[in-house]
């Protein structure tokens, strides 16, 4: 029986490790990063994953060994102990040191992303989140929001490639989460606040945008696309949208 339980723990370790090995090939992993800071975030993510993997295997493996070793039939009386300062100190300092190291490691990446949040220039677009839709408001010709030539479009956020894009996030009702996995960008959208975030995409393409805060019954379908295009295409699209915004209604049959 005790061997069986120990083997089950072993199987758990094997299954978890196996899932990590096969995940990228089955699309269970994050999509390839297309953002300038995505590489740094991936490095941190992988480091933390490795640390956690070692801790996980060590803990579960230790547990398995204790189950196997501690439940054998024996005639020796159990030993009563009360605390071991050296062991507890080591345990506390090793774990604390590990967490401190991780905290220091992420500091520079965090600062590089967060410090430039406000100073990254004027927002290119205002993201308007509402149950259960993403809408994007562009400032139009004058580059200023809340003027007559602003235009709005749902679903698709179009941005130029190889440029720092600052976005302003607003919510009309509840907390939403603006998450673009390919950009490694995740920012909560809070009602009553206009938060900014930035990214710089280096590969043109169409990427998923999803809501990561359970915002209500339609949360699961609150999806959109981020379309990264060349500067020329972006300008052409911007021009076309502005023209469509000023339409006199004759363009559609």
């Amino acid at each position: 029986m005790r061997t069986l339980i120990a083997l089950l723990f072993g199987a758990l370790i094997a299954a978890v490790l196996w899932s990590f090995v096969v995940a990228p090939g089955r699309g269970w992993w994050m999509p390839a990063s297309v953002s300038t800071y995505g590489g740094d975030i991936d490095k941190l993510f992988n480091t933390i994953t490795v640390v956690l993997a070692v801790a996980f295997v060590g803990t579960i493996g230790g547990l398995a060994w204790l189950v196997w070793r501690g439940t054998r039939t024996t005639t020796v009386r159990a030993l009563h102990t009360h605390g071991n300062a050296r062991l507890e100190g080591a345990w506390t300092f090793v774990t604390g040191g590990l967490l401190l190291t991780l905290a220091l490691m992420q500091l520079s990446v965090w600062r590089a992303i967060q410090a430039e949040r406000g100073s990254g220039g004027k927002p290119l677009v205002r993201v308007l989140a509402a149950q259960f839709d993403w809408r994007f408001r562009y400032p139009g010709v004058d580059g200023m929001f809340d003027t007559a030539d602003d235009f709005e479009t749902p679903y698709r956020l179009v941005v130029p490639v190889d440029e720092r894009v600052v976005i302003e996030l607003r919510s009309r009702d509840v907390i939403h989460g603006f998450f673009v996995p390919a950009l490694r960008l995740k920012q909560d959208v809070l009602p009553g606040s206009a938060l900014t975030a930035w990214f710089e995409a280096h590969t043109p393409g169409e990427y998923d945008l999803i809501c990561t805060q359970l915002c209500g019954s339609g949360h699961y379908r609150m999806a959109g696309k981020v379309q990264v295009v060349s500067r020329a295409d972006f300008d052409a699209w911007n021009e076309r949208m502005q023209r469509e915004w000023r339409t006199n209604g004759q363009e559609r049959p």
Binding site: M144, A148, P154, S217, A223, R246, N248, G249
Partner: protein
């Protein structure tokens, strides 16, 4: 005294647990009416029909039968052959799809509708799906054939392009999201299915009306009801509101003139409902109810209290492009008290010129913009 040994207890428990778990699961399945796979859907008669024909179950059954003959069922939706469709010059069961895209057809559209729309809009499009409870504004009941946000005048039935526009843009400020994640051809078929549900609902109430007037439902009367309903849909393409020429720019002068027209009781008279500041608190739109509370003075075509839009929020259900607001002012909003100012005449002259309506458009838009008055 009998006491089971530990070994005996161990041996007995798993079987007992297994039996209990199985029984609990069975109870759960029976209680929830769970069956593997979706059950086929069926159209029901609307609440209005059922209460109107409460004392005439035979007529109720006849109307249900006629509707099934004319429109099929949710799993096999199809228009029966009828002269009205031939007159349209299109096969409603196989409408033109956009170039190159394979058109899914009504049956596939019904499946898409079931997955994407039914939970709010209901099986018959009555706006009474399971998730509709508590939504403000309530999901559209399409069975009246009234669609509020179209590009058309004269309270017209919508074109496919109008329904498609709503599917593409959603309705900002409501629970209606956009459906751009569906392929264009799928959206087209969905728009056709919405039209199908609306026509079916309109024919249903037309049949009830016919029976009330003639106290019988002859095959000719059924055909006439269908022809009448379709004639309203067939007119839609000729009802498009467009503006000849370039949309006038939002200048300070136009906004100021729009401000004056908005508040002028003999011109726009918008402030009477939308309020002096555009907050939707005008005296004409509100009354004091029996309980002494302020409540909306008007009801919409669906019998719900309707309040004027707060124009300062910049959330325009029919779209916030200048042309969208122009169309709302020109053609009004079907199903509600918003009048069609573009069609209103005074002393043989139009009440407002196009230029004056554009001034109103820019004033209304400016209320939510920084160049506001």
């Amino acid at each position: 005294m009998f006491r089971p040994t530990i070994r005996e207890r161990r041996a007995r428990t798993p079987a007992l647990q297994r039996a209990t778990a199985a029984a609990a699961a069975l109870c759960l399945c029976v209680a929830c009416g769970f069956e593997p796979g979706p059950a086929p859907l069926e159209f029901s008669l609307s609440g209005a029909t059922q209460s109107a024909l409460e004392d005439a179950p035979a007529v109720r059954d006849q109307i249900a039968r006629e509707l099934t003959t004319l429109f099929g069922t949710p799993s096999q939706p199809a228009y029966a052959p009828h002269p009205a469709w031939d007159a349209a010059g299109v096969d409603l069961n196989q409408p033109d799809a956009s170039a190159g895209a394979p058109y899914p057809g009504l049956a596939a559209a019904a499946e898409t509708y079931r997955r994407e729309c039914l939970h709010c809009h209901g099986v018959e499009g009555g706006g009474d799906g399971p998730s509709a409870f508590g939504l403000t504004p309530a999901p559209r009941d399409v069975r009246l054939g009234i669609f509020k946000y179209t590009a058309l005048k004269d309270q017209s039935r919508p074109r496919r392009a109008d329904i498609l526009h709503t599917l593409e843009q959603g309705i900002a400020g409501t629970s209606m999201p956009n459906f751009q994640r569906l392929a264009p051809a799928v959206r087209e078929s969905l728009a056709d299915y919405v039209r199908y549900l609306a026509i079916r609902g309109e024919v249903e109430s037309a049949l009830v009306l016919t029976w009330r007037e003639e106290e019988e439902l002859s095959p000719e009367a059924v055909g006439e009801a269908l022809t009448f309903v379709w004639s309203r849909w067939a007119k839609a393409p000729s009802k498009l509101v467009v503006y000849e020429g370039e949309v006038p720019a939002a200048s300070k002068e136009r906004i100021a003139r729009g401000d004056a027209l908005f508040h002028d009781p003999l011109k726009g008279n918008c402030a009477s409902c939308h309020g002096t500041s555009g907050a939707g608190d005008g005296p004409a739109a509100w009354k004091i109810g029996v309980d002494g509370q302020r409540e909306p003075a008007y009801s919409d075509a669906w019998g719900r209290p309707i309040r004027p839009r707060d124009l300062r929020e910049g959330l325009f259900h029919g779209g916030s492009r200048p042309i969208d607001i122009y169309r709302r002012i020109y053609a009004g909003i079907p199903g509600g008290p918003m009048p069609a100012l573009g069609e209103t005449m005074k002393d043989g002259e139009p009440l407002l010129s196009s230029e004056e309506m554009w001034c109103l458009v820019h004033y209304v838009r400016s209320l939510s913009l920084r160049e506001g008055p």
